[in-house]
Subunit: 242 residues, 2 copies
Amino acid sequence: MNISEKINFTDTAPEDRSQEDRSMAIRESLRNAIIDRRLAPGTKLSESEVGSLFDVSRTVARAALQMLAFEGLVKTERNRGAFVSNPSPEEARQIFASRRLIEPGIVAAAVERITPEDISRFRRQLDEEQRYLNERGPAARRAEIKASGDFHLMLASVAGNVILQRFMDELVARSSLVIALYGRSGVSSCGHSEHTAVLDALEKGDGERAARLMIHHIDHIEADLDLQLKQGSGLKDALSLA
Amino acid sequence: MNISEKINFTDTAPEDRSQEDRSMAIRESLRNAIIDRRLAPGTKLSESEVGSLFDVSRTVARAALQMLAFEGLVKTERNRGAFVSNPSPEEARQIFASRRLIEPGIVAAAVERITPEDISRFRRQLDEEQRYLNERGPAARRAEIKASGDFHLMLASVAGNVILQRFMDELVARSSLVIALYGRSGVSSCGHSEHTAVLDALEKGDGERAARLMIHHIDHIEADLDLQLKQGSGLKDALSLA
DNA sequence: ATTGGGCAAATCGTATGCAATCTTGGCATT
DNA sequence: AATGCCAAGATTGCATACGATTTGCCCAAT
């Protein structure tokens, strides 16, 4: 199997190349491919394959994979390689439990710092979200999940705490994976109106209400998942823990 | 300058070597050296030096440093190397803001799952903390800071959310660095009684009270710091952001 | 005395080679 | 037909080599 067609090479900004590391760019590319599910959970990411795809040596590919492993998007097994994470329902629950803890705090911090310019940026973001919502097809669905995650990341960025921002980066990425895995098909649209509701509350300076809405929003996302039991990938996963 | 005498090679469990990666063991060793400040902030950790210290090649030393960079304990500058982090007051504030957000949730989760065996483990841990508190000298101070952090990590482990546990791992490590940097000398002892108070509330099943106590505890730790302005590391830090 | 240029040493970034480990396919045995 | 075994192929773990970049030093010129 070849994963080359699954990866969009243009989604890394070109100036990243000069300032940052090359492995960083590869990480970004793979990250994007994973969170909007062009790379399915369980897909093997071999060092040489990744390396030749991006035209770098295994050393640099390996560094990118290590970073992804660190943020939980891939799992590495010794002497076997790296695989796109296949989060268990338990993992999914813990991800959302973490978000319920962190995001109200982010909202509370954001309401103190948000500017009118931020508000209009958010409005534009929500418009885009709406657009994908109205489109059909799996590509639009993926874009919708990604845009929905971006809303939460923008919020974290406005909150101005770089540590929480990084935590949210990881949580949102893993959430996207979980939603793609366990989400019931038709229902993911509920998120959009809730985003606007949160933003409205923020605009009015009502942090209390915004935080409450955010918790409900997260509850709804999780409620829309089917976390009952492992999807029938059979035996192998059934025997592994959780 | 040689950093070899600063590193305690025995603080990695021997069975780690077989099961885990070697770079993981090096990371642990360096982590411990950093958080109890045998390695001062700003210390350069060159790849070859670390490599020869642990008798591995630069490749594996580099992997360890990358992990430490990821969790914020070292900062790497391109083509210059890795340095033990020198957190700014702003960073310190963000670290404690994050803890104020996360730890009450951890306490709330822990109160649901804590067992009598856990309680006695905590008591033993607190006894050890007390012991270091009564000793004099910088070594005891370091051990005290570490033991104090371990209390919070044990709590996270009881809470049973591996994601939050990892976040706390990072936050506690960085807190230790911050305390060592900005802590006023005589006052760090206030933490101990607060730990026992939290534990008492947990034992009684009063999660509400335990969470409140935990927030106060974090407030006190932060209040004991001197975050007014940058210590005179001069120019270079002054010109860099934050 | 100070400033500027240039060379040398040190260190990082990356590629590649080799050994160890795992997987896979085929063959013999039951 | 099913199971166990073994060898070939593939892939990772790690070490080392080489080029690129930075730093520090020395010396000449002003």
